[in-house]
């Protein structure tokens, strides 16, 4: 029997490409400047896994799970994970910096424009429409997150208590998490041979 385990198993995975540091930097500059609003993790997967073939799904998806579990912006976490996976610690730093520097510059420029020139100018009337759409985008994220999180009546109760603690008790988010996490974790704790039922 052949004992050599293939380095890249499967016929298609043979085409896996390992980029240079410069290519890694270039891709994250591109991602930073071409990503808007939500849906960015799917966009990164398409670029890194499907188009560039730098990672397989088996390498990418655990990283996605990790950054979704840990606190912080998912994009930043993915940059760190992908950079580290491909090029080690320096790769992480390069990916993260390249992701943020160009948008940082454009965002600051827009901020100055808003505060120095904008607030009196009537071009600001555009913002009424833009903020309305931004609000619609946020609302769509409530639906998407809700769809993934509601597995029973108790999840709806968790959502509503969390909302109320922020909205009516005016607690800060870290405090709310400290209160809610034990409760939610207790409910979702691994149970032997049981199917969850809603009492």
């Amino acid at each position: 029997m052949e004992r050599n385990t293939p380095p890249d198993s499967g016929p298609e995975a043979g085409a896996l490409v390992r980029p240079s540091m410069l290519e890694l930097a270039g891709l994250f500059v591109f991602i930073g400047l071409t990503s808007f609003g939500g849906g960015i993790t799917a966009y990164i997967r398409r670029l890194v896994v499907t188009q560039k073939r730098w990672l397989t799904d088996e390498e990418f998806l655990p990283g996605l799970g990790l950054v979704q579990l840990l606190p912080g912006a998912n994009v930043a976490g993915l940059a760190v994970y992908i950079g580290n996976h491909l090029k080690g610690p320096l790769g992480s730093a390069v990916a993260l910096s390249c992701l943020f520097i160009p948008p940082f510059v454009t965002t600051c420029a827009l901020g100055f424009l808003y505060f120095h020139a904008g607030q009196k100018a009537d071009g600001m009337a555009m913002l009424a429409g833009i903020t309305a759409v931004a609000c619609g985008l946020m609302a769509s994220m409530v639906f998407e997150a809700g769809q993934k999180s509601i597995k029973g009546v108790f999840d709806i109760i968790l959502i509503l208590i969390t909302f109320a603690l922020v909205r009516f008790a005016h607690l800060h988010v870290p405090v709310v998490i400290l209160i809610m996490a034990p409760l939610a974790l207790w409910w979702h704790r691994p149970r032997k041979n049981s199917t969850k039922e809603d009492a």
Partner: protein
């Protein structure tokens, strides 16, 4: 000035490590600190900055950069850029360091049933926090029938089509510039 920088660093590094489910979940705290506690800006300015950051290229939580910029703007342009830098680093570096180190032991937990338990537990909490964030944005941005209609249309298009949100913002911006002036 130094005091404001310290406040920015403290606020955003705490929020960085509490943003379970992505940056948006800490928006209510950001709003409360920036408008209520430190009086860096008005509600309207906060929502405007949030919308600008959504329309501009870059990761969606670049509103952090703009909050830092505005907090230090009274001290001059250079200070504003420094404030923006401090806020951005404080928001994105702590969580990234955590991801870097956690990546190493993550695979050991692959088989643990607790991994799913933690995911299931975090999801409803982040949904509640995003709902609270939406409430804050809605309170300020939806102030008339036309803005309510535009918000609802955007919600509908986001849920049922793949239209790019920036295109929606461009169209809505043009409409409100043309009709709501």
């Amino acid at each position: 000035m130094n005091r404001v920088l310290l406040q920015l660093a403290g606020l955003f590094s705490a929020l960085s490590l509490s943003a379970f489910g992505g940056g948006k979940v800490v928006l209510p705290s950001m709003h409360q600190a920036a408008c209520g506690e430190y009086h860096w800006m008005s509600d309207q300015q906060f929502v405007d900055l949030f919308s600008i950051s959504m329309a501009a290229p870059g990761p969606s939580m670049m509103v952090v950069t703009l909050v830092g910029l505005k907090a230090c703007l009274p001290y001059g342009t250079a200070a504003a850029i420094l404030g923006a830098l401090v806020a951005t680093l404080a928001m994105f570096v702590p969580s990234s360091v955590l991801v870097y180190y956690a990546g190493n032991w993550w695979d050991h937990w692959k088989e643990s049933p607790w991994r799913h338990a933690v995911m299931d537990a975090i999801m409803p909490i982040s949904t509640g926090l995003i709902l609270a964030a939406t409430w804050i944005i809605a309170k300020t941005s939806i102030h008339s029938v036309p803005t309510a209609i535009m918000g609802l249309i955007a919600l509908f298009l986001m849920l049922f089509t793949k239209i790019n949100p920036v295109l929606m913002m461009a169209v809505a911006g043009a409409i409100s510039w043309g009709f709501l002036r």
